[in-house]
């Protein structure tokens, strides 16, 4: 029986225009459709595969505002068994260190967790450090950037892939934390049966106080870094056009060399 916790986050849909609010430069959640982050769908899928191959229970854990219930329900409709939702006004604008502490405290509330699975990086903040920080706080081995994951008895094996180091094979004793990349799998779409069943699955809701965390340790004013200003990405420039007058190949090669691409 493997007890798996999957960390999930609700993010603005990458199909819609994403912006920051004018007032405090936090994410403007009203301006975009909110969805379960795709990398988390993959994390849930991986957990479900482990559960389906043997025995286990999958709990999704989400720190986010009330409307993140939609993202939680999506994970439950894919087949996760239950959910923990930490929702508190005080969390608005929390940085990744504070968020990680909240996550770690919430995991601490659960019985005998064998495996924590997270996405390697959320598609909105893109800090990419939450899994490592949570693992540190919980004293768990961290196996990050996994594109392959296998649980064998009381060990977990992953293939870790990074741009700099290529592929490394890692192994750890459970309990452990794994973060996955988008290459790990193709997530399933929920079925209608799953959608209807999701509504009946238990969702436990905590405030930061419930987790024994002081509201003064989280939130925008207690973040270690602050966004001073933000400006939209400049529109993409028209590409450079190479007319082939017999010298086309040479010109393209020169351009690539100039850009240090070859």
């Amino acid at each position: 029986m493997t007890n798996i916790v999957v960390l999930v986050k609700q993010v603005p849909d990458t199909y819609s225009e994403r912006k920051l609010t004018e007032t405090d430069h936090t994410l403007d959640r009203e301006s975009a459709d909110a969805v379960l982050d795709e990398i988390n769908e993959r994390a849930v899928e991986e957990a479900l595969k482990i559960k389906e191959a043997g025995e286990g229970e999958v709990t999704v854990l989400c720190v986010g505002p009330d409307r993140a219930t939609d993202a939680i329900r999506k994970a439950l409709s894919m087949g996760a068994d239950k959910a923990v939702h930490v929702s508190d006004e005080a969390l608005h604008g929390s940085d990744l260190v504070a968020t990680s502490r909240v996550i770690a405290a919430a995991i601490g509330k659960l019985d005998s967790v064998d495996l924590v699975i997270a996405g390697n990086e959320a598609s909105d903040g893109r800090g990419g450090a939450v899994p490592a920080v949570v693992a540190e706080l919980l004293g768990l081995p961290q196996l990050t950037h996994a594109h392959h994951l296998a649980v064998e008895g009381s060990t977990v094996k992953v293939d870790r892939e990074t741009a700099d180091e290529g592929i490394t094979h890692l192994e750890a004793n459970l309990p452990a934390l794994v973060s996955v990349t988008e290459k790990i799998n193709e997530p399933r779409y929920p079925s209608f049966k799953g959608i209807m069943a999701a509504k009946k699955k238990p969702v436990e809701t905590y405030t930061v106080a419930d987790l024994g965390i002081d509201a003064g340790e989280v939130g925008l004013t207690n973040a270690w870094s602050a966004v001073q200003s933000a400006s939209p990405k400049p529109p993409r420039q028209a590409g450079e056009r190479v007319e082939d007058d017999g010298e086309g190949g040479t010109k393209i090669a020169e351009y690539l060399v100039g850009q240090k691409l070859v």
């Binding site: 329900r73 409709s77 779409y189 209608f192 959608i195 509504k199």
Partner: protein
């Protein structure tokens, strides 16, 4: 007051299918369409998502949903592509539904689980080369002989009848003469591959190019007597009720296509420039888009209303006919306007609006022509 928002189950399903359509169908469908290939892998994915089992009970491998859930899914698919949508519509509403509604428990157990999972498709053969609207004019015959039905005749334009995963075609056939002298029509299940049952080469069609459509021929085809579906002589009533429901589903497909036209145009008019302006700045273009949106909205309300009557168990023939008529008109009008807004690009196959234009026409014909819908509405009004 009536609430026209979708319940959260339907809304979650809608979002799931929307996501599937834009992530899985949209990137590949143009290629399938161009080569007129049946999208087996998309159908398999839809099967795994449970879309083919939406309105059927879990005991037969279904999702335990209802017919409206199917319509919501069809609308979202057709927003991106109608061939995929009609494959699902015909698979469920013409293939599986007659088995579920009129079949014995044994027939249901034999066919429904594989139909619900999308591993198998069933087809429904009513239309004949000599006539579709006047279905009572059926000439295909089935004679009971030595515990078997011997079937002779032919069918035309039958959806899903010739794929690699087609399991059977349910055909209407004349099985005798009624007391009053009229034709006795019954429905019989003919498994694919039965000797004497030939599937013609696929048609070259104007639209729905990745949907599977064939003419069928029956020459002394023998199937066991137990393949009779429902009561002998009730074939006519059976398909009338199947078609009434089917019209709501076709209406949902029309609404999806009409919505797809709005989606594509909103994107395009914000980018395309002429005379130093985005074309969306021109009021003539804005009015076209506003009309497209109005037609889509009206047609959607029409099919929601028909489906809600149907699910309440009230008579819905008139509302279903109104929904199909309104929706197919909206689809045709929107496809015409959308291709106009796209200018020359609207005539190019690489843009979805061109595909929408080709796919819209059949909605005025399939599962009862627009004339037939008007006949049904008028008749229901006592004319």
């Amino acid at each position: 007051m009536i609430d026209f928002r979708l319940d959260s189950d339907y809304e979650d399903l809608r979002k799931t299918v929307e996501d599937f359509a834009r992530s899985e169908v949209a990137p590949v469908i143009g290629e399938y369409y161009e080569h007129e290939r049946f999208p087996y892998d998309l159908v398999a994915q839809m099967g795994r998502m449970g879309l083919f089992g939406l309105p059927f009970p879990e005991s037969y491998g279904g999702m335990g949903g209802d017919y409206f859930a199917l319509c919501v899914a069809l609308e979202e698919l057709a927003r991106v592509d109608s061939s995929v949508a009609i494959t699902l519509e015909a698979g469920v509403s013409l293939g599986a539904m007659p088995i579920y509604r009129f079949g014995t428990d044994e027939q249901r157990r034999q066919w429904l689980p594989r139909l619900c999972s999308g591993e198998m498709l069933g087809a429904f053969g009513l239309t004949e080369p000599g006539g579709g609207s006047d279905a009572g004019a059926t000439v295909t015959s089935a004679t009971a002989r030595d515990g078997e039905w011997v079937i002779n005749g032919s069918k035309a334009f039958i959806t899903n009848s010739g794929t690699d995963i087609t399991g059977f075609v349910t055909v209407t056939a004349v099985t005798g003469t009624k007391a009053g002298g009229g034709k006795e029509i019954s429905t019989i299940i003919v498994p694919s591959g039965t000797p004497g049952f030939t599937v013609d080469a696929k048609y070259s069609k104007v639209g729905w190019n990745c949907s599977d459509t064939h003419g069928l021929a029956f020459s002394d085809v023998r199937v066991p007597e137990e393949n009779l579906l429902g009561t002998r002589g009730k074939g006519y009533n059976q398909f009338l009720s199947i078609l009434d429901e089917g019209r709501i589903a076709i209406a949902a497909i029309g609404v999806g296509l009409a919505q797809g036209c709005v989606d594509e145009c909103l994107r395009y008019v914000a980018e395309r420039e002429a005379f130093g302006h985005k074309i969306g700045d021109f009021q003539a273009i804005q009015f076209k888009v506003a009309d497209m949106e109005s037609r889509t909205h009206t047609a959607r309300l029409a099919y929601y209303a028909a489906a809600s009557k149907m699910l309440r168990g009230e008579p819905f023939k008139r509302e279903a006919a109104i929904a199909k008529l309104t929706s197919s008109n909206a689809a045709m009008d929107n496809a015409r306007e959308a291709t106009q807004i796209f200018g020359g690009y609207g005539f190019m196959n690489e843009f979805p609006v061109g595909r929408f234009y080709r796919d819209a026409k059949i909605l005025e014909v399939g599962e009862g022509t627009s004339e037939v819908q008007r006949m049904l509405i008028a008749r229901d009004l006592g004319l």
